[in-house]
């Protein structure tokens, strides 16, 4: 029996009671800042001794309060996140840092600010392209974020502290990649469900505590004898977010999910922030270019005057090729949260890309409720039969 206060058991405990540590830290005098999306540069919060806490939805929670502020035909994740906030589930927060990573994030941010009363609330605008002028603009946005954070905390955001925070968060990225190395063997040393718990725990803890947890989890998983069973299907899941174990368990009932390419999985950890003379430059570059969310407009060549579909697919999805090879993936699931436009537009092209690599794929949609689990199970089983 593993120690409940360590490693995987600890991650599960945190997953099941996410806000407990944040509440303890709040009671100890720390300030807790919520963020709804992985595009918010957490390094800037950490450097000012603020505790970042990702505001997630809860699929078991029926949306009631958010109905007065957002229509039903809208991103179910953001509706659910706002609903939790309006019900007071995040009442320990001292503020929110929001970002224009997609249209629902932007719209919800303004509504959120209007209907709540946190001491701090900031909205970061984010360009849609990775062009040099867009990068420059994004850097100026981060500089404005710095100004409001400094005003809120009464502290200066020094280069030294920011570099130290970047180092800690980069370490977390390295450790998460190390964690995913453990899904390469067959059977994997750690399940997709356990990784969902670990990653969600990371999003509930200060970075240093998260790194300690990761170190424990990696050590435990490497040495365990009770790991996941070997399944014939080794799946890649691609989507906006998969942050709930009930959903992951649907996939893992008869398959090994060895890669979760969503922002509940590896997406926010695949690359690292570069150290630059002005740390904001490295942060802007990382957050705008390196996180492979469908929200960003990418091209084979910036401003290209000739277009080639194969090169276009490579520029948008090329990062998946190495993953498929290294993790020996034999099936891909494009998991779409209903009404998520950036990801929905990608589906046919990504299917083309997977097809070009000889990887069978399917597109499955759900609405981030427990009611979606049964049809999800049917679709997954049908897909697994086709690839078996």
């Amino acid at each position: 029996m593993s120690d409940k206060n360590k490693g995987l058991s600890k991650a599960q405990e945190i997953y099941l009671n996410r806000s407990q540590r944040a509440r303890e830290l709040k009671a100890a005098g720390k300030k807790i800042i919520g963020y709804p999306c992985v595009y918010v540069p957490l390094e800037m919060l950490t450097a000012l001794d603020l505790v970042p806490y990702r505001t997630c939805g809860a699929i078991k929670e029926p949306v009631t309060e958010a109905d007065r502020a957002l229509p039903s035909s809208f991103c179910p994740i953001m509706r659910n996140c706002l609903d939790c906030a309006l019900k007071g589930k995040n009442d320990f927060l001292d503020g929110m840092a929001t970002i224009h990573s997609c249209d629902p994030q932007e719209k919800t941010a303004h509504v959120w600010e209007s209907y709540t009363n946190y001491p701090y609330f900031h909205f970061i605008d984010m360009p849609s392209t990775v062009r040099p002028e867009a990068l420059e603009y994004f850097k100026s946005q981060l500089n404005d974020f710095r100004k409001t954070l400094e005003a809120f905390t009464g502290k200066k955001l020094s280069t030294d502290k920011l570099e130290a925070a970047i180092k800690s968060h980069n370490q977390q990225r390295t450790l998460v990649r190390e964690l995913y190395e453990l899904t390469k063997p067959s059977p994997p040393r750690i399940s997709g469900t356990e990784i969902v718990q670990v990653v969600k725990a990371l999003m509930s803890l200060p970075v240093v505590e998260g790194n300690d947890l990761l170190t424990e989890v990696i050590s435990e998983a490497k040495n365990r004898t009770d790991g996941p069973e070997k399944e014939s299907a080794r799946l890649l899941i691609w989507g906006s977010i998969l942050d709930d174990t009930d959903i992951m368990q649907v996939f893992e009932a008869k398959a090994n999910v060895v890669m979760d390419e969503s922002c509940g999985g590896i997406r926010a950890y695949r690359a690292e922030v570069k150290f630059t003379a002005d740390p904001l430059e490295g942060l802007a570059d990382y957050y705008l270019k390196e996180i492979t969310c469908a929200r960003t407009f990418r091209q084979a060549t910036l401003g290209e005057t000739r277009k080639d579909y194969a090169r276009d697919l490579q520029s948008r999805f090329g990062y998946l090729k190495g993953i498929i090879k290294e993790w020996k993936i034999n099936g891909a699931i494009m998991l779409l949260v209903r009404y998520c436009d950036p990801f929905a537009f990608e589906i046919p092209s990504l299917k083309d890309y997977f097809g070009g690599l000889g990887v069978p794929s399917t597109y499955i949609e759900y609405d981030y409720t427990t009611g979606a689990l049964a049809p999800l199970r049917t679709r997954v089983e049908a897909f697994l039969e086709t690839i078996s």
Partner: protein, 447 residues
């Protein structure tokens, strides 16, 4: 096509008709242009940002968003929607985007690049390139990216800064938006030059920019006249006349003359106390996209005394700003385009309305145009034009005691809008408007 029969109660402006005709002209011109070897481009509504550049380069632009509405109203959209569905695009995506994707699939996969024979208004010719825009919603750049599956047309995505109300006033914030805009447009000009193989005529761009600004100033003034009681111009005339200002459709000098004519006609109506409907009992604001296929519905409401006096933030001209001292046309374009949002921010901040540019304008409209109610039109497949509507309703009631009536519809699925059901709600809503008139009076409002 759904067409409402019967008496037309709304007194349409004569000056509106030649402006409305510019939409048809634009489509036909683009087909002629490509037949004559001139380049044609598919563009997204871009709020004055990219259009003047293309206009100055003599490039014909067609707008798939508008074309989606035309395809829906003429009954051809369904086959394109089915084709997009068969190609694997999720059905809850923007209806206009699915129409375009299905259209492109048919044109490129079946007809080898020829315009589909069933396409109304001459169809959309195969584009030289695609000009998408990040303004308003994600679909409007992801959709053009997705077209790469069918055609090898390069895509330029126009950036569109979207500030928060509070953040906008951080020192240097506005300047950074201008800086982005100017640099981005300069690169866009180079891209267009590369695509068409000729250099920008900067004098022509200068003149085009000035005309665009002046057209929209006059168009703004026309709409200011609608504050009069009774309101001399109905929303239907707004929607019919707007393309020449919003999309720069047709010859700009001609458009300026036509908007000036419209100003005179509306001013004459104000002077002679002539309303757009026979008896104005209720003044309403409409949000956001109208039911293009059922506009006769507004005649039925006009019979009940409902006058729509202000509407559709996303289509309205920017609040005028003096740009006469800005010599660089790209900077003038940028500042003018930013004004579309930014024109409202100072007031929004003062009133602590944090709901962004999408929501605050309705508070201003209801207050200044003295509206008794709001008719909200959430659309199943256009979330960007719908997301803010519950918030708008809440704010109108909270701040101004103005009630809202919400009637669901869609931009291409005509079955979702039920005019009969909507009309059945009219009478109870009139009682609500009457009730809140009293409440407003008690609260010290002057209407």
């Amino acid at each position: 096509m759904v067409v409402e029969k019967g008496k037309k109660t709304i007194n349409r402006l004569k000056s509106m008709y030649p402006l409305r005709a510019k939409v048809n002209e634009t489509y036909l011109k683009s087909v002629e242009a490509i037949q004559a070897g001139k380049p044609a481009v598919w563009g997204m509504l871009n709020f004055y940002y990219g259009d003047p550049v293309l206009k100055a380069m003599d490039i014909e632009v067609v707008y798939p968003e508008n074309y989606g509405a035309i395809a829906a109203a003429t009954g051809v959209a369904q086959q394109y929607l089915e084709r997009a569905d068969a190609d694997g695009f999720p059905s809850h995506l923007c209806g206009y985007s699915l129409t375009t994707l299905g259209y492109a699939s048919r044109m490129m996969k079946e007809l080898n690049g020829q315009i589909p024979p069933e396409a109304p208004f001459g169809g959309m010719p195969k584009p030289l390139f695609l000009m998408s825009s990040a303004a308003i919603c994600d679909a409007r750049y992801k959709w053009f990216q997705a077209l790469g599956r069918y055609m090898d047309a390069p895509v330029w995505t126009l950036e569109a800064p979207t500030p928060g109300v509070k953040e906008f006033f951080i020192e240097g914030y506005y300047d950074s938006m201008v800086d982005l805009g100017v640099k981005h447009l300069r690169d866009f000009v180079a891209f267009v030059e590369g695509m068409v193989g000729k250099k920008m005529d900067w004098d022509k761009l200068d003149k085009t920019t000035n005309l665009m600004i002046e057209i929209n100033r006059v168009w703004h003034e026309v709409n200011e006249l609608r504050k009069a009681k009774p309101c001399p111009m109905h929303s239907r005339d707004f929607w019919s006349a707007m393309p020449a200002a919003l999309f720069l459709a047709g010859d700009l000098e001609d458009s300026l003359r036509l908007y000036q004519n419209m100003y005179k006609e509306v001013k004459d109506r104000v002077n002679s106390h002539l309303g757009a409907i026979p008896e104005e009992k209720y003044r309403l604001v409409f949000a956001e996209l109208p039911p293009w296929h059922s506009l006769g519905f507004f005649d039925k409401l006009a019979e009940r005394g409902w006058n729509f006096v202000v509407e559709s933030f996303g289509y309205r001209p920017p609040i005028p700003i003096d740009l006469s001292k800005v010599s660089d046309p790209l900077e003038r374009i940028t500042r003018f385009s930013l004004q579309f949002f930014a024109g409202y921010y100072e007031d929004a901040r003062k009133q602590n309305v944090l709901g962004g540019a999408f929501a605050y304008p309705y508070l201003k409209y209801a207050r200044e145009w003295k509206c008794d109610g709001a008719l909200l039109h959430p659309l199943i497949s256009c979330r960007s034009a719908s997301t803010h509507l519950p918030y708008v309703a809440d704010m109108l009631m909270e701040e101004l005691k103005v009630p809202s009536l919400s009637i669901e519809g869609d931009i291409v699925d005509l079955r979702l809008f039920n005019p009969e059901d909507a009309l059945a709600k009219a009478e109870p809503f009139e009682e609500t408007m009457e009730h809140y008139r009293k409440i407003r009076k008690q609260a010290g409002f002057d209407w």
